[in-house]
């Protein structure tokens, strides 16, 4: 579904990605973890051509997104929904208008249909009551949930999540995890999640990759990831108090 081939990227004179290659299959929840500044968000931005690689190629299905013309890029982007780290809601629009924005701009739907879809998606994220509120009136968790409702309102094939649980309390974090997991299980959506939160990664990921020094140093199922022999991975697990003793078994997302 998404394939990175030897992707290299320099930012501010620093090599952020160094010949990175991986492939994400349809219906997977692929989680990218790593330290701050490891290039996780940069990787995500290449998938929707917000950044262009200095070397290598990025494929989405049969389309090479890194070399596509602007019309093709628009087509490719229509397959994606993105939840940004800060939700990236339009501050002058209320919750309803934020979620309705992609529908109003691209789909020939009448107001009733849009209204119904918006309410449906907001119900999924348990925010039906916040229709008329503005982003500045919402908490960080609520903003993220509105961002998620906007990302899924067009029923995209692929959803990218940039730090979906950062800055949230553990209960709200697990609610977001459940929503991400539901998107895969109920709608077969392919998800790419960038996170620091290994508990979340282990709960929702079908595969976990760790970026370090511009390279993918581990790319494995949660079961294999937790037993990785790589020292950097081990210290990352230790830092989040995740034990490798005994058989680790994936717990269903709550």
């Amino acid at each position: 579904m998404i394939r990175f081939e030897q992707v290299t990227k320099h930012l501010g004179g620093r090599r952020v990605l160094d010949r990175v290659s991986f492939e994400i299959a349809k219906g997977e929840t692929f989680v990218i973890v790593g330290l701050s500044g490891a290039g996780k968000s940069v990787t995500l931005k290449h998938m929707v051509r917000l950044l262009v690689p200095d070397g290598g190629r990025v494929w989405v299905g049969d389309d090479c997104v890194s070399e596509a013309n602007s019309r093709k890029v628009e087509q490719i982007r229509s397959r994606f929904g993105v939840l940004f780290q800060g939700a990236a809601l339009m501050q002058w629009m209320n919750v309803h208008d934020n979620v309705a924005l992609p529908l109003r701009e691209h789909y020939k739907k009448d107001d009733d249909e849009i209204e119904q879809l918006v309410r449906e998606k907001l119900a999924l994220v348990k925010l039906e009551a916040a229709l008329e509120k503005y982003p500045s009136d919402l908490s960080g968790g609520m903003r993220k949930r509105v961002g998620l409702a906007r990302a899924i309102v067009t029923s995209p094939e692929i959803i990218l999540y940039d730090e979906p649980t950062s800055g949230l309390d553990p209960v709200t974090s697990r609610t977001i995890d459940t929503l991400i997991d539901d998107m895969r299980q109920e709608f077969g959506v392919t998800s790419v999640v960038v996170t620091h939160d290994l508990h979340s990664a282990l709960a929702i990921g079908t595969r976990i990759a760790m970026l370090h020094g511009g390279e993918i140093i581990e790319n494995a199922t949660p079961e294999d990831f937790i037993h990785s022999k790589n020292e950097v991975v081990q210290s990352f697990l230790d830092a989040q108090y995740i034990t490798r003793e005994g058989d680790w078994k994936k717990k269903d997302a709550p």
Binding site: H10, L11, G12, G13, K45, V48, L50, L51, V52, E74, R77, S78, F80, V82, F84, Q85, G86, A88, L89, M90, Q91, L101, P102, R104, E105, H106
Partner: protein, 269 residues
């Protein structure tokens, strides 16, 4: 519209720095020009009820919300012009000619110029700050991913509002400036209102009005292009937003001055 961070290393010497300044300036001018061209291209797409509502909202912000400060500035500009020219003309018993002096100068130069400066400082800076904040908080990226062209969605409504409202506000500035001049003429120089406006009518030509309004139209385009370009290319968080706002005002002022001179040169020499 996504702008990638610059990857330039430290320049080696003074020539390297000069070369970089030239390249960066030309690059910025090119980007600003492209944004303006794209925004003009999207003007026909504004004629839908929802988008027209957005355009009208920006016209309201540009026009109605700026009326207070424009009223004060226009009145005092006319009053200062009348007093300065009137005091000089009085030495030759020609103070009755302040009608022409004030009205022609307001229509040709001071009306569009003062209006543009006020709008650049108030509306332009606010556009630079707003779009800059949207850029650094990933809202522009979000629009691009939703395949919503940021230029059509954000720049064109503001451009239309500025290109329509600047000439209208200039007419308002011209009228108030002339009224201010007439008040000073009457109270300080002993020129009656009738003599002031008769004299103004005698020498002011339609061309003065049209050229002034044309300038105002150009200034509207300049403010929109500079403010939107600075906002959409802002980087590095709050500092970048501040820089975009500051650059919007400085660049708008400079370009307005240069274009104002060029237009006068084109039509009157």
């Amino acid at each position: 519209m996504s702008v990638q961070p610059q990857q330039l290393g430290e320049p080696l010497n003074v020539f390297g720095r000069m070369g970089r300044t030239v390249i960066t300036t030309l690059h910025g001018a090119g980007q600003g020009g492209m944004i303006l061209a794209q925004a003009i291209f999207f003007i026909p797409s504004m004629f839908t009820p929802r988008r027209m509502h957005n355009v009208l909202f920006h016209m309201y912000l540009t026009g109605i919300k700026s009326l207070g400060v424009i009223t004060v500035v226009a009145m005092f500009t006319g009053m200062i012009l009348a007093l300065q020219t009137g005091l000089e003309l009085r030495r030759f018993n020609q103070e009755v000619n302040i009608g022409t002096a004030v009205t022609v100068v307001m229509m040709r130069e001071m009306g569009p110029f003062m209006t543009a400066l006020i709008i650049a400082a108030s509306v332009g800076s606010s556009i630079g700050a707003q779009l800059g904040t949207m850029k650094v908080s990933e809202e522009i990226d979000a629009l691009e991913i939703m395949s919503i062209n940021p230029v059509r969605f954000l720049v064109t409504p503001r451009l239309v509002a500025l290109m329509v409202m600047l000439p209208i506000l200039t007419i308002y500035t011209n009228i108030l400036g002339s009224v201010g001049g007439a008040i000073v003429g009457k109270t300080q120089l002993g020129v009656s209102f009738r003599a002031f406006f008769d004299n103004a009518q005698l020498y002011a030509a339609n061309k003065d009005l049209y050229v002034g309004l044309f300038k105002a139209f150009l200034f509207g385009n300049i403010i929109a292009a500079v403010a939107c370009h600075q906002g959409l290319t802002a980087q590095h968080g709050a500092v970048g937003v501040g820089l975009a706002t500051r650059r919007t005002v400085i660049l708008s002022f400079l370009i307005i001055l240069v274009v104002g001179y060029m237009t006068t040169r084109l039509f009157y020499v």
